[in-house]
Symmetry: C2
Subunit: 294 residues, 2 copies
């Protein structure tokens, strides 16, 4: 983050019906629809990384957008993760996984590797970080955290998401007067206590939607050492200007994730998609870097 | 269920380090480890379906176990789903997905299809049902339910899972004295109200772990029309004998999912894995069918 003066994370949520013209043209002209779609999505993500990557520190592929392309989509995810890494970007896989312990271990293997088999070890996607859903409790998070620790990766646990419906469950008031997301925040802080490095930040982070910035101060109080992943800037209505409290521990305290604001920037009549994406990413990078305390 | 006199769901959680000898031998002897592992896992699942399938109504592939094999694992998942369908079994994909609405739509496309692309429509995995995580609230479930309704499929929403750690969050007491899982149960009942068919059962079901059977009566009170998916029988400690209240609406009220109890039945010195799996599945089928009200 220091080297790039950036807290920006490039969301990769490729939609095959919203491809940039060069990505659509980059697909093979023959072959099965799934293979052509996966190839086009790969080009789309590579063009996005080329354009907006220099203003970012990480990419955040949305697993659902690759899974809907089938096995070719899963292969594209691996290809794009490698492409991002070669461009100096971290890979933060957004799948919001959560399951009982034995299955959580399998998710850790899928996201991080390795998976032992009688035929040799499989490497997994080699994520630098990933998102996790805490509904199933601490024992469901433990294999994810242990897997992450073993491979030098981090986990961002959902605390308060950016969608309107988050109020239904995450905002439920508990008997002690706290909301459920405050309980989740306490779990994140607790799990991260022994995993805090010399930076003062833990490798157990929190997903804290940018659409409800009024909660950020309370979140910082509850999770002083957690890096915050802040989705929801742009299309979902969140504003970089409102995210100041996330950066209380310093500039590395918050990662601002945005996808459509960058990929669709050209739709405002700003011409070439790649140029518009580069300009918008640079604008957001500078805005966030200026805002955050040094 | 009537035709097969069964409420049993065959969990497919293949572990490449725990293959039946015939599955390990069924993999190609050369090639990349990932491809060999995916081939062996495919054989393992096919052998399990051959052996235990006749006593079951559905298979429940655990997505994590396929994802850890990479794109070949995702292809194996599609192959095995087709194999199960050809054996007359429904396919219940266990991925516990949950995300903001735009991403939830992409998960619906991945699990159910179709995904429109400029190159033609992609079919997705064509699930008959799948599991969903409700932490993100109603608007995150809506695209999953709508996708399911459009393709004649069902959704099982997590209410109270079978792991010990479920107590941390799902059992949190709310200000009105109810536990969070009761709130989730109310959401499930509410979402299913307009989706209840002539059977008296809704296409919005609930995942209600078999390890805490003392909650089942309360769950039935809150969700009189929801089919219950009951994981946790066998390795996790749940007992078929304790699941009676799930079947209050009739024999189709509960689906009993078990995986290791069947795949590992031979480990008790019972000889051939396929024969032991068939015997154990038949034993569980009969036990459940006898228990449930007609």
């Amino acid at each position: 983050m220091e080297a790039r003066c950036s807290q920006l994370v490039l969301g990769l949520d490729p939609d095959p019906t919203q491809l940039w013209p060069r990505a659509a043209a980059g697909a093979p002209t023959t072959g099965a629809p799934a293979a052509r779609a996966a190839a086009a999505v790969t080009v789309q993500c590579e063009l996005l990384i080329d354009a907006a990557g220099p203003a970012c520190v990480a990419v955040k592929p949305q697993l659902a957008c690759f899974e809907r392309l089938g096995d070719g989509g899963w292969a594209a995810l691996a290809t794009i993760s490698g492409y991002a890494r070669a461009a100096g970007l971290l890979v933060l896989l957004d799948g919001k996984r959560g399951d009982v312990p034995v299955t959580a271990s399998a998710y850790a293997q899928a996201l991080l590797g390795p998976t032992p088999t009688p035929f040799g070890e499989l490497s997994g996607l080699g994520a630098d970080a990933f998102t996790a859903n805490p509904l199933l409790g601490r024992d469901s998070l433990a294999p994810l955290l242990d897997g992450a620790a073993a491979s030098g990766a981090g986990v961002f646990v959902l605390v308060r998401t950016s969608n309107a419906g988050a109020a239904d469950v995450e905002d439920a008031t508990l008997e002690d007067g706290e909301r459920l997301w405050e309980r989740l925040a306490r779990i994140v802080a607790d799990l991260g206590r022994s995993r805090t490095g010399s930076s003062g930040l833990s490798d157990v982070g929190a997903v804290t939607g940018a659409t409800e910035p009024q909660h950020l101060e309370r979140m910082r109080e509850l999770m002083p050492h957690a890096p915050f992943l802040l989705p929801g800037v742009g299309a979902q209505g969140g504003r970089v200007e409102d995210l100041g409290p996330a950066f209380a521990p310093g500039r590395a305290g918050g990662l601002i994730a945005t996808s459509r604001a960058i990929a669709d920037a050209y739709k405002g009549g700003r011409g070439d998609p790649a140029r518009a994406a580069a300009d918008e990413a640079e604008r957001l990078r500078e805005l966030a870097w200026t805002l955050a305390p040094a």
